[in-house]
């Protein structure tokens, strides 16, 4: 089978693009359903074109000796990378909208030159699922962006519609659920001009209740099962309500955070609903999370729930790469190593049906990270990152500042060009 693939792809080898072709030789390669295996990987024209025990070095001018190194798919993080530069400065934040809610898609605001992107790329991240935060009932649309060097990035989306359910300062959570059900009812029954009177309520002046055409179209996509509803919810009973609602509304569901998910792990598993979470969230930080525990992740894992991880302390975007720290801790908390690593690579892609990324397989995008050791360990360093087969510049401001302040030179650092 592998040989056949190799032969089919053989014409590529006859016309190699010298700049594009890379042979990663002798690394421990993280393969789906297998784990780390010593393999050679050939990358050309942005794709992984061969994975073999041995590929002859003569095939490419660019051989990267990866002996003893670890090669994984590039990390896929959940973050506001490229959409938030400094948390306390609203003028540098583009994940919010006062105008739109369900239909708000921040991806057009993406800034590939964010310092947070440079840092995260140097730490092994190759793409991000952007997390919006509009005001009102819906936070907005999730979308996917690669974080390669340069002006242009491949994007996919919308991937899902983000909302939250649970404690609120004003309305009962019961009313919030009624609202969602009513809204779905009106959208299901059409929101064209002839039925405008039916949904007048939803065009109120209060931002929470104002739904533009764009917003209603986003909800329609959820109803049509073109994308899932992603619900940030923590309390076990609330999770059950959301599962019930998704079933009766016949929509696809993804759970976010789910601090008390372990109490209803079987129900989540039976509904085949994935959970995006931080295994480190063990503090009973609110009355919705009184049963938060380190055991959450292993209980969900053991129940067979598909998981993806983020690092909650990343201040939105800046340290999103530390999802590996969450994953490493998940291993210590009882999750199998391969599943923990999948939770920051292939599972995000699988959950949101992001095409052609997240695993090392023939024909997939060559989004790869080479580590000097176990990628989930705290002291491991990233050596090389490929995005779409292109070797990335891993320079970042933190390394540059370090150098500026540790290098002895004649002139004070402020008089140096760099």
């Amino acid at each position: 089978m592998r040989l056949i693939r190799f032969l089919i792809l053989f014409p590529f080898f006859l016309f190699p693009h010298a700049d594009d072709m890379y042979l990663l030789k002798g690394g421990n390669v993280f393969l789906p359903d297998v784990g780390f295996v010593k393999k050679d990987i050939l990358v050309d024209e942005g794709l992984i074109i061969s994975i073999e025990d041995e590929i002859d070095s003569s095939i490419s001018e660019n051989v990267i000796n990866s002996d003893g190194k670890y090669i994984t798919p590039g990390l896929i993080v959940f973050s506001a990378l490229g959409l938030i530069e400094i948390g306390a400065l609203p003028e540098t934040i583009d994940i919010r909208s006062e105008t739109y809610n369900a239909g708000f898609d921040p991806s057009d605001a993406f800034n590939p030159f964010s310092q947070a992107i440079r840092l995260n790329r140097s730490k092994g991240v190759t793409s991000t699922v952007n997390i919006p935060s509009a005001s009102g009932y819906f936070a907005g649309l999730l979308s996917y962006t690669k974080i390669n060097n340069g002006l242009k990035q491949k994007k996919q989306g919308p991937l899902g519609l983000l909302t939250s359910y649970g404690q609120s300062y004003d309305d009962s959570r019961a009313a919030n659920l009624m609202f969602i059900e009513d809204l779905f009812f009106y959208v299901r029954n059409g929101y064209d001009s002839t039925k405008a009177d039916q949904i007048q309520f939803f065009y109120g002046t209060d931002n929470e209740y104002r739904f533009t055409k764009r917003d209603l179209e986003a909800i329609q996509k959820v109803i049509n099962k073109e994308m899932p509803l992603v619900v940030r919810v923590n309390k076990a009973t609330d999770i059950l309500k959301v599962l019930e609602m998704a079933k009766s509304e016949n929509i696809n569901l993804v759970l976010w955070e789910a601090n008390e998910g372990h109490m209803v792990a079987e129900e989540i598993s039976k509904a085949e609903v994935p959970v995006i979470m931080d295994p480190l969230n063990n503090i009973p930080g609110s009355f919705d999370s009184l049963n938060a525990t380190y055991e959450n992740v292993s209980r969900l894992h053991n129940a067979g729930v598909k998981l993806a991880f983020y690092y909650d302390q990343s201040s939105g975007a800046h340290n999103a790469y530390l999802a590996t720290q969450s994953a490493g801790n998940a291993v210590a908390l009882g999750v199998s190593y391969n599943e923990a690593l999948a939770s920051v690579t292939s599972n995000p892609a699988e959950i949101f049906d992001i095409k052609n990324v997240g695993v090392i397989a023939i024909g997939y995008d060559a989004d790869l990270t080479i580590w000097d050791n176990d990628p989930l360990e705290l002291m491991t360093q990233v050596e090389t990152v490929f995005i779409d087969g292109s070797k990335q510049d891993l320079s970042n401001r933190y390394d540059e500042l370090t150098e500026r302040y540790t290098k002895e030179e004649e002139l004070p650092n402020s008089y140096r060009s760099r």
Binding site: E85, I86, G87, A88, L89, Q115, A116, A236, H262, M263, L280, N281, N282, I283, P284, G285, S286, F287, S289, L290, N291, T293, E295, D312, Q313, S315, G316, A317, H318, N319, L322, Q325, G328, N329, V331, A332, L376, E377, L378, M379, T380, Q381, R397, Y398, D399, L401, T402, Y405, T406
Partner: protein, 460 residues
């Protein structure tokens, strides 16, 4: 309506008295002068009683002693609440033996920046008690009077090997008030948690936070902040002079500030930017006090030599950044650069400022260590352990009691199931004053009242 009335009355008082200083902002109470520092907090003194200490010898462990040393296959003996001996194949009679082959032993971790208790879990408005954000100078408030002894977060930190933590007021004010050092034990009153004879701290804050909180009434700029500190210190000097002729005079705010001028209360200063830290040092020189520690110091690496020269510690995160403009110039090598300044005489500390981060300070140190090595410094794991133990104990004025495994010190120590710099390692047992307070295998740990009846699920 009532609010309006209060405003009118306030205005009447303000303009009515016509003096140069609005007297309603002065907190003067008649009474006999107190020097809480000399009888270490007077009627508020520690009433901590340790649990009954065991007589234990831990065998064949890899030990980081907190002084920067690593010992292989070493034994530790403790009894009567104190470290008795450290060495190879110790001969001990009648002690409980623990085989720690393949395991690591370290001093208990000391976190010198926590808001547990003053921002307890669950985080609700009604127990959000960390910032008395009503005046830029609230040197008179004491964090220990906000601490909730039933905060369920303490035991989570304990499971991460934290045996001592320092609770500070928040950073809304120029002077936030006094901080308190607590043993990480479960108790029904705060004095029962207080670390015996530990000095108070004074929390000060630079930069964005105070000027944001008080932008409408001032200070609204960094120069306004600095004028605010200096004004308060001048007031403290005046108070000190007045005490010479009027020793019975009381001023609750100035009692704290004079405690600093007398060197009995330690200054813990929230400050991110290098230039602002340098200014704060200038202020300390003007008034003759010493800054114990700068906290957060995202830019500490820019003045690492200055900090080493002044003998000032920097309590830092491994990698937090970007949430504020003053936290933008991050380097993960920050801690290592501070540590290595002036031939390794710097005092670097890994702090948490987070009820989540405090549970994994060993992991934070690991990341900082890796970044230091990447920046070209040769730093051992044993040295990095001082960032979590010896240095924070020094910054809190309790190094004579905890922070290292020196003989005679409190038997505050952790047995780890592997190298504490690995993400896969967990604290297996934690001892405080020689008493077992956390045991992973048997799920033994203290529970606060908040835990009682709350859990709707079975702990395994």
């Amino acid at each position: 309506m009532i609010k309006k009335l209060i405003v009118l009355l306030t205005l009447a008082v303000l303009y009515g008295c016509g003096s140069d200083a609005p007297s309603i902002f002065k907190s003067e109470i008649e009474g006999s002068a107190k020097n809480f520092e000399d009888d270490i907090h007077g009627t508020y003194a520690s009433t901590y009683t340790p649990l009954k200490s065991e007589n234990v010898v831990i065998r064949n462990a890899t030990i980081f002693d907190g002084n920067g040393n690593k010992f292989l296959d070493y034994d530790v003996h403790f009894s009567d609440g104190k470290i008795k001996n450290l060495g190879l194949d110790l001969e001990v009679e009648g002690a409980r033996e623990i085989d720690a082959t393949g395991k690591y032993v370290t001093p208990g971790i000391v976190d010198n920046h926590s808001h547990m208790g003053v921002y307890p879990a669950p985080g609700v408005r009604t127990s959000s008690d960390g910032n008395e954000a009503t005046n830029p100078v609230t040197a008179e408030v004491w964090a220990e009077h906000s601490v909730w002894s039933q905060d369920p977060q303490y035991k989570l930190a304990l499971a991460g090997g934290v045996t001592t933590f320092h609770v500070l007021p928040g950073s809304a004010n120029l002077f936030g008030g006094r901080g308190v050092t607590l043993k990480n034990v479960s108790a029904n009153t705060v004095p029962d948690m207080k670390f015996p004879d530990a000095p108070h701290s004074l929390k000060m804050a630079c930069g964005e936070n105070p000027k944001r909180v008080y932008r409408s009434r001032g200070p609204s700029t960094r120069m306004g902040n600095v004028a605010g500190y200096r004004k308060a210190w001048i007031g403290a000097e005046n108070h000190k002079k007045r005490l010479e002729r009027d020793p019975e005079h009381r001023d609750i705010k100035n009692e704290t500030l004079v405690g600093v001028l007398d060197g009995k209360i330690l200054v813990h200063n929230h400050c991110y930017r290098a230039d602002e830290m340098a200014t704060m040092i200038n202020i300390s020189q003007e008034f003759g006090y010493k800054v114990s520690t700068f906290h957060h110091g995202v830019e500490a690496y820019k003045i690492a030599d200055l900090l080493a020269d002044e003998g000032i510690c920097a309590a830092l995160w491994a990698d937090w950044w970007g949430f504020k403009h003053e936290a933008y110039d991050m380097t993960i090598a920050n801690i290592a650069i501070v540590d290595q300044a002036r031939g390794g005489t710097g005092c670097a500390i890994v702090h948490s400022d987070s009820a989540s981060g405090i549970q994994r300070l060993n992991q934070e140190a690991a990341k900082a260590l890796a970044a230091g090595r990447r920046a070209g410094f040769e730093i051992s794991e044993a040295r990095a352990m001082t960032w979590l133990t010896k240095n924070p104990a020094k910054s809190l004025g309790i190094l004579d009691k905890t922070g290292t495994l020196d003989l005679g010190k409190d038997a505050d120590l952790v047995i780890w199931d592997g190298n504490p710099f690995s993400v896969y390692t967990k604290a297996e047992q934690v001892y405080i004053d020689g008493a077992l307070t956390f045991d992973k295998a048997s799920n033994f740990m203290p529970h606060t009242d908040f835990d009682i009846g709350i859990k709707e699920w079975e702990e395994k």
